[in-house]
């Protein structure tokens, strides 16, 4: 429809790269002759991400099983629910999620800028230091080093290490953009850039603490202020990492894969800035009816509702981009995953604002509904789009066709079934918890004891365990499929398009 701006990679580059110090320097150095994209680091990050997905999901399945059979921690500290559940969230978000984002960012930023990575050694440092950090961090969580703030549990030595790696990530990413040969910065890079900048800001503020010992620190903020800062962080880590970062992935891999440019360039601009502006306000919906000022709660709720608009603008843009390439869905498992991830993105970004309405939140807050909501985003959106991107990416990185399309199709149905069952189980659990907790009888006394309500959760928790197992088994199939695809191969060499050299 609309004047389409730079499409991901093989758009005809501008006739002549215009000015710019980077380009001039490159010409002086002899243009693109012999230049190669640095793709091995992306390959390894893909492998690391897959490993973390298995570790993180296995931990998730285990803690789900502990809620069914509470004694299967066998009295071991490191298998205890409170520690293992923290490992689960950290491994999937920071291990799987960030490794996947870093890998796809390194891959796509080169292709949307037509230049190899800036400071490739630093890129390797980022990739490997991040893995070492998440691994050591995960072990520290099992050892009981826990800062106590949700999604920011790692203690202060890790907070410092994260900051260092993150700064390096920014240098590599923005350095590559600075020396690009395509003048307009492609939209996927806005989202990856937003991820890097905003997460840095949130992490730096929320982690402020006074260390006491190596494994213990006290937050600079206290009580209600700490709560407001924490959910400003917590909600926007979801916003700019799990939503924005993965939208960067979507904006590169969806058009690339569908073979069509983004439907509306104008809409992608509006959606990006509206998203970046409004997401940051929504944190206090995690504190409805808590001891924080009323105006903070109300503002958080209103802005959460506003957020529906940019979220769905991107959804529309994505769906319209696929429209016209529907026939590919019959044959291409990677595109199937990406399109399904869009559906769950739409569901989760609708459900979120609804749950932020105070009168809905009264029922949903503190219940398993929240857990279901998180997983419709994490499994349905984040994991699925990553699976789709990897099924596309790994064969290209390895210069081989996918080992088994059939296995990938089986994985697709396992992932869909697992996610649906998970969400349904948690809706059932969450809505009944919420309503039963609030239920009063004819004379105004509580209808049910907490203990009885908790005991009635057993079937839902069992169902959730089954759902997790189904989803995990799909991820295992994928890890096998990708490993066989890359077996005995090395990352193929790829170069920026020759036409980019002036």
């Amino acid at each position: 429809m609309e004047a389409v701006s730079p499409s991901p990679s093989d758009a005809p580059p501008l006739p002549k790269p215009t000015g710019g110090k980077a380009v001039a320097a490159d010409r002086a150095a002899g243009g693109t002759a012999g230049e190669r994209y640095h793709d091995r680091v992306a390959s390894w990050l893909t492998a690391f991400a897959m490993a973390w997905s298995i570790i993180g999901m296995t931990a998730g399945v285990y803690v789900a099983a502990e809620l069914v059979w509470p004694t299967i921690d066998f009295g071991r500290e490191w298998l205890s629910y409170g520690r293992l559940r923290t490992l689960h969230t950290n491994a999937v978000i920071f291990g799987f999620g960030v490794s996947a984002l870093m890998g796809t960012a390194f891959y796509s930023v080169q292709r949307t800028c037509h230049v190899p990575l800036f400071a490739p050694r630093l890129a390797w440092f980022c990739a490997l230091a991040w893995q070492a950090g998440v691994l050591a961090g995960g072990i520290s969580l099992l050892a009981g080093w826990n800062g106590g703030k949700e999604y920011a549990e790692l203690e202060w030595p890790f907070d410092i290490a994260i900051t260092v790696v993150w700064v390096c990530f920014a240098i590599v990413f923005f350095g590559t953009i600075a020396k690009r040969r395509i003048k307009p910065i492609y939209v996927s890079n806005w989202f990856y850039g937003g991820l890097i900048i905003v997460i840095a800001m949130l992490h730096l503020v929320n982690s402020l603490a006074i260390p006491v010992t190596l494994s213990k620190s006290y937050s600079l903020f206290a009580g209600a202020q700490d709560a407001i800062v924490q959910w400003w962080y917590g909600h926007n880590a979801v916003g700019f990492l799990l939503t924005g970062g993965f939208l960067g992935m979507l904006y590169y891999f969806l058009p690339k894969h569908a073979g069509r440019p983004i439907w509306s360039y104008r809409l992608s601009i509006v959606a990006f800035w509206a998203f970046t502006y409004s997401y940051i306000w929504a944190g206090p919906h995690h504190l409805h009816y808590n001891a924080v000022p009323e105006w903070v709660q109300s503002l958080g709720m209103v802005m959460s509702l506003v957020l529906l608009a940019p979220s769905w603008a991107t959804l529309v843009n994505g769906v319209m981009t696929v429209a016209g390439a529907w026939e590919k869905l019959r044959t291409d498992p990677a595109l199937k995953f990406i399109v399904l991830s869009l559906a769950f993105y739409g569901l989760a970004t609708f459900e979120g604002p609804m749950m932020s309405i105070r009168s809905v939140n009264v029922v949903s807050h503190f219940t398993d509904w929240t857990i279901g909501h998180v997983h419709s985003g994490a499994l349905g959106w984040n994991a699925m789009i990553t699976f789709g991107a990897f099924y596309f990416l790994v064969p290209r990185l390895m210069g081989a066709s996918l080992h088994s399309v059939r296995l990938a199709n089986i994985h697709f149905w396992l992932a869909l079934a697992g996610t649906m069952l998970y969400i349904l189980a948690m809706w059932g659990a969450g809505v009944s918890q919420g309503l039963l907790w609030l239920s009063l009888d004819d004379i105004g006394e509580l209808s049910f004891s907490f203990k009885d309500i908790m005991a009635s959760m057993a079937p839902y928790y069992a169902l959730r365990l089954v759902a997790g197992l189904i989803f995990l088994s799909g991820a295992l199939l994928m890890a096998y499929n990708l490993a066989m695809t890359g077996k005995g191969r090395r990352t193929v060499a790829a170069s920026p398009p020759a036409t980019a050299a002036a």
Binding site: P70, G144, A178, M201, K216, D226, I228, P293
Partner: protein, 208 residues
């Protein structure tokens, strides 16, 4: 110049783009979070709210170590059913000495903000070490190791109190001096029980 033309400038200059993202994403924090952080009455201790004593402080840090807030909130909402179930609703001033706050986001188990005094020390101890010995249907993990270790095994209680004093918690030098003696001979489980028993509305009686 219309918005799309303006954007063509922005998307051709990486420095401007970085600045734009930083600016646009910072507004919400500046308008909404910063005023709250500067609003002193949010962290002014309410009547009867005292800094944690050394035993309760160690207990609280154990509560954090074991991830108790993964399943237990400490935030009674001002709703009839919650006040009936748990007790008086939570107020900001009660959390003035909470670093970090432990309000939680999930109630797999019940809220604990008013748990103090509802059960005896012995019940709490048995429940922590083996929950199903007192609540047969419970799905809470047991924490047998809490009975095996000294409450202040690494001798850091004074460092903890001094760090908190730097953040404004009014501990006197005498209190800090006396802290190791208060913890002498206590196991971790004793400190955690003491912390749980301290969770009660600020002006309630001191003993159950």
């Amino acid at each position: 110049m219309n918005a799309v033309d303006l954007h063509r400038k922005l998307e051709r200059n990486s420095g401007l783009l970085i600045f734009g993202i930083l600016l646009v994403s910072a507004i919400g924090g500046l308008v909404q979070v910063l005023p709250s952080v500067l609003q002193d009455d949010l962290v002014t201790p309410g009547p009867g709210t005292q800094p944690y004593g050394p035993v309760e402080l160690i207990g609280r840090d154990l509560y954090i170590r074991e991830g108790c807030s993964t399943c237990h909130s400490q935030q009674v909402r001002p709703l009839l059913a919650e006040v009936k179930r748990y007790g008086p609703y939570s107020k900001a001033g009660e959390s003035a000495y909470d670093r970090p706050f432990l309000w939680g986001s999930k109630r797999t188990g019940p809220d604990l903000h008013r748990i103090g005094g509802k059960y005896t020390d012995l019940w709490q101890r048995m429940h922590l070490l083996d929950p199903r010995s007192v609540v047969p249907d419970s799905i809470m993990p047991g924490y047998p190791w809490l009975a095996e270790r000294a409450a202040d095994a690494d001798g850091s209680i004074q460092a903890r109190m001094r760090a908190l004093r730097r953040l404004g918690h009014p501990y006197t030098e005498a209190e800090i001096e006396a802290a190791p003696a208060a913890l002498a001979g206590l196991a971790e489980v004793d400190a955690l029980v003491a912390y749980l028993q301290s969770l009660r509305p600020p002006n309630a009686e001191a003993t159950p």
